[in-house]
């Protein structure tokens, strides 16, 4: 047992640091720091810079252009990426549909889709949830009926994050109703968003932003070749996808960075006020979240170590999403608390790359704290609510 990095690992860390300091788009990092909302192009440029470095497919196998990194390297990369305040990778292509395609797709699909995903040349979005389906994903109603060489897709997907930017959508669709279990008869289908009959309608979320969408399918003709794997096996692929990126969802490295930033901020005399660090109660709350995050960091490392040594992830992996979102939301709340009255002004337009004007309300990105808090209540709802996660753990880990 030991906690130290090897010389190679230290060298790798410096390489990653250097990359984010020099080759990653610095204006994007500035935007992150100043609370300026990122545009589609910002996210694409960011990911393309990773791709140029060969670092886009963090978890992908080498044969498909992945990094082949050790768990410790992945940990270092995630840590340094968060430390650099670089935006998280948009997960739909690189972390979700990519792994499904290289795991279950045919060779043609691999050649057709993977390079563009890796290069961030296509933007993907996710078509799982439906109005009414909620946590009961298997109740989905969107149908794909065969018609010669095509499926005819009809139905509605919802809560489609960043769907307004997407070129392609991966969907779970019902290809058969004549099944014993609802989970059967579901297939995994790739749909070009420019196909006739696909329409995208914005949904405004609690904080007032357009981040998610409803995607309607009306007699959308999708070639049969866009089916991934076997017809009727979509549920299995979809589940694998959800499990695949557990550690990503936990976002431990980012929480660690946010904690550090909050602690540093508490030491400053913002707006002429006494530093919050003099408020023992607040510092105790930071410390308590810090303990959770440190525990989570080691839980993640244990998971990575187990997987790398060929073991199946143990019970420790199951708690990553649950506790990871807990911690994120606790941090959200602490940022709001730190901002006091300045969490309340709604002034999204003041965030630009130009130097903040005289009318800038609050210190730095202070007034975005409650928007982030409101928005991120979704963290315990999306991707299978935390209640569903607990049901799953109770069943599959505890055997209840």
């Amino acid at each position: 047992m030991n906690v130290t990095f090897s010389d190679e690992e230290i060298a790798f860390r410096e390489e990653v640091k250097d990359f984010f300091r020099t080759r990653f788009p610095q204006d994007v990092i500035d935007k992150q720091r100043l609370g300026v909302p990122l545009q589609r192009d910002d996210m694409i440029r960011s990911q393309k810079s990773l791709h140029e470095q060969g670092w886009a497919g963090v978890n992908w196998p080498v044969e498909f252009g992945g990094t082949g990194w050790t768990p410790v390297q992945k940990y270092i990369f995630a840590t340094e990426m968060a430390e650099a305040n670089a935006p998280a990778i948009v997960p739909f292509g690189l972390s979700m549909v990519g792994p499904v395609i290289y795991s279950f797709g045919n060779d043609e699909q691999k050649q057709r889709f993977l390079p563009d995903i890796l290069a961030s040349d296509t933007w993907w979005c996710q078509g799982y949830s439906e109005p009414g389906s909620g946590s009961d994903l298997a109740s989905l109603k969107t149908r794909a009926d065969r018609d010669g060489e095509h499926y005819i897709v009809n139905g509605t997907k919802t809560w489609t994050t960043l769907g307004q930017h997407a070129d392609w959508i991966f969907c779970l669709v019902r290809t058969s109703s004549d099944v014993a279990r609802r989970q059967e008869g579901i297939s995994f289908l790739l749909v070009d968003m420019r196909t006739k009959g696909v329409t995208v309608k914005p949904i405004i979320t609690i904080e007032g932003d357009h981040e998610v969408n409803e995607v309607h399918f009306e007699d959308v003709r999708v070639p049969l070749e866009n089916l991934v794997g076997e017809e009727g096996k979509g549920w299995t692929y979809g589940k694998v996808l959800l499990q695949h990126e557990r550690t990503n969802i936990a976002g431990v490295a980012r929480s660690k960075y946010r904690l550090k930033k909050l602690r540093a901020q508490a030491g400053e005399a913002i707006r002429g006020a006494e530093p919050l660090a003099l408020d023992r109660n607040f510092m105790r709350k930071i410390a308590a979240v810090g303990v959770d995050i440190k525990a989570l960091e080691y839980t993640e490392l244990r998971t990575l170590a187990a997987v790398a040594s060929g073991k199946a992830p143990g019970p420790e992996s199951s708690i990553l999403k649950l506790k990871g979102t807990d911690v994120q939301q606790a941090l959200d709340a602490l940022y709001v608390e730190a901002a006091g009255y300045y969490a309340l002004p709604y002034v999204p337009d003041q965030y630009t790359l130009d130097a903040p004007g005289e009318n800038h309300v609050g210190h730095g990105a202070e007034t975005t704290t409650s928007l982030k808090y409101f928005n991120n209540r979704k963290a315990s709802i999306y991707g299978g609510s935390n209640e569903i996660q607990k049901n799953i753990i109770a069943k599959h880990v505890l055997g209840l």
Binding site: S129, G134, S135, D136, S139, T158, W159, I203, I204, T205, I206, E207, G208, R271, G272, A273, E274, D279, N281, F282, A333, V336, E337, A339, G340, Y341, Y342, A343, L344, P345, Y346, V347, N359, V361, S370, L371, Y373, F374, N375, R377, K378, S380, I381, Y382, S385, N386, E387, K390
Partner: protein, 375 residues
């Protein structure tokens, strides 16, 4: 010892309840919140006509001699309706100061139009550096012959962009956090040297950052004693704190009931989600939190109304409660509503946001627990 409203209080309750239930549905509220001023002049006129703007003032001033109980009745229902009209800024804050500290001439000039619904006003009690300490005042009032000259910054001034009158606590003596040396000024919003940066707030209300640069006001602007403004300010902030607690309890009750209803109708896995034991127990906790909050609200209101020395502690207790239990109830309401709970379209999100912002105002839960721990 008795928990019942008297006849007049019940009439007031009925009147506000009817208005909220019949004339102020969620859609109406959302339209008003999205309007330029963020409140409806028509609705405000109705408030005045129904006498609600006169409630807490002395009969001699044209008021109804109401107190903590009447304000609780109104604000709890305003919470239920998620009312955006600036009752807190005009009546409880600015009106509260004027009712206590203004002389006859000042009352006629400012309080009467406020009661009549003709003047919008506010109290600028926050400064960028003050956090929750209302005695932390860096805005300086300097004697300038017969007049005064004000310099400084006020932050998060509720209703600031709409107000014709701004009541400004400023430092005429003492150090930045001293209770002595605070003087209250009634300052017309169009005075030379005032810059107002108005904005919407995340809960659909309005506020502003206001800068005072060599703003000259005459001696008639001083409300009460020079240097002795703290006691008045403190009492009014206590009243306002209790008022938003009543609003918060109103909101919590709505969230609890709507969540329960939703859980009975929303079907997942072939059954209403209200049949899942985990959600059932969580809704029992919501009930407990709501009932405990109602109890503390009644206690704090009753001891405030009776002028008891316990009032300050009681107000800290209920503010702590709506800060902690309110957060839990709000978060659980959103969680049980699932993705719908974080949709702009549904009222739940907006109740949750207002409950959250109340938690940030007049001292958060931690601030008030500290008062209880050290008091």
């Amino acid at each position: 010892m008795n928990f019942s409203l008297n006849e007049e209080q019940m009439m007031l309750q009925d009147s506000v309840e009817k208005f909220i239930d019949n004339d102020y549905d969620f859609e109406t509220r959302q339209k008003i919140a999205a309007s330029d001023s963020g409140f409806s002049a028509d609705v405000w006129r109705t408030f005045a006509e129904l006498g609600w703007t006169a409630v807490p003032f002395a009969e001699d001033d044209g008021g109804f001699d109401g107190g903590a109980i009447e304000i609780m009745v109104i604000m709890q229902l305003f919470g239920r309706g998620l009312v955006v009209e600036p009752y807190l800024a005009n009546i409880v804050l600015a009106g509260g100061i004027l009712g206590r500290a203004a002389n006859a001439e000042q009352k006629e000039k400012w309080l009467h139009p406020i009661i009549a619904g003709e003047l919008q006003a506010t109290l600028a009690f926050v400064e960028p550096q003050s956090r929750y300490d209302i005695a932390n005042i860096a805005t300086v009032a300097a004697v300038d012959g017969e007049a005064w000259r004000l310099n400084g910054n006020k932050g998060f001034v509720l209703n600031g962009g709409n107000a014709g009158l701004i009541i400004v606590p400023a430092r005429s003596g003492g150090g930045q956090t001293d209770r002595d040396g605070i003087t209250l000024f009634a300052v017309p919003a169009d005075s030379k040297g005032i810059t107002c940066n108005a904005y919407a707030t995340v809960d659909g209300l309005r506020a502003a950052e206001i800068t005072f640069e060599d703003v000259r006001v005459d001696a008639g602007a001083v409300l009460g004693e020079v240097g002795g403004g703290f006691a008045v300010l403190d009492a009014v902030i206590d009243e306002a704190t209790l008022a938003v607690c009543a609003e918060a309890v109103g909101i919590m009750q709505v969230l609890r009931v709507k969540t329960l209803e939703y859980s009975k109708s929303r079907v997942q896995f072939g059954v209403p989600i209200g049949s899942f034991q985990v959600l059932q127990h969580r809704m029992v906790d919501m009930l407990t939190d709501c009932e405990q909050s109602v109890s503390l609200l009644l206690w704090a209101t009753m001891v405030s109304a009776s002028g008891s020395a316990e009032a300050k502690r009681a107000i800290s207790a209920i503010k702590y409660q709506v800060g902690t239990a309110g957060r839990k109830v709000g978060q659980d309401a959103v969680q049980i509503h699932g993705a719908m709970g974080v949709s702009w379209e549904l009222d739940i999100a907006h109740y949750f946001k207002r409950l959250t912002t109340i938690g940030q105002m007049f001292g958060n839960a931690d601030w008030h627990l500290d008062k209880l721990a050290t008091g």
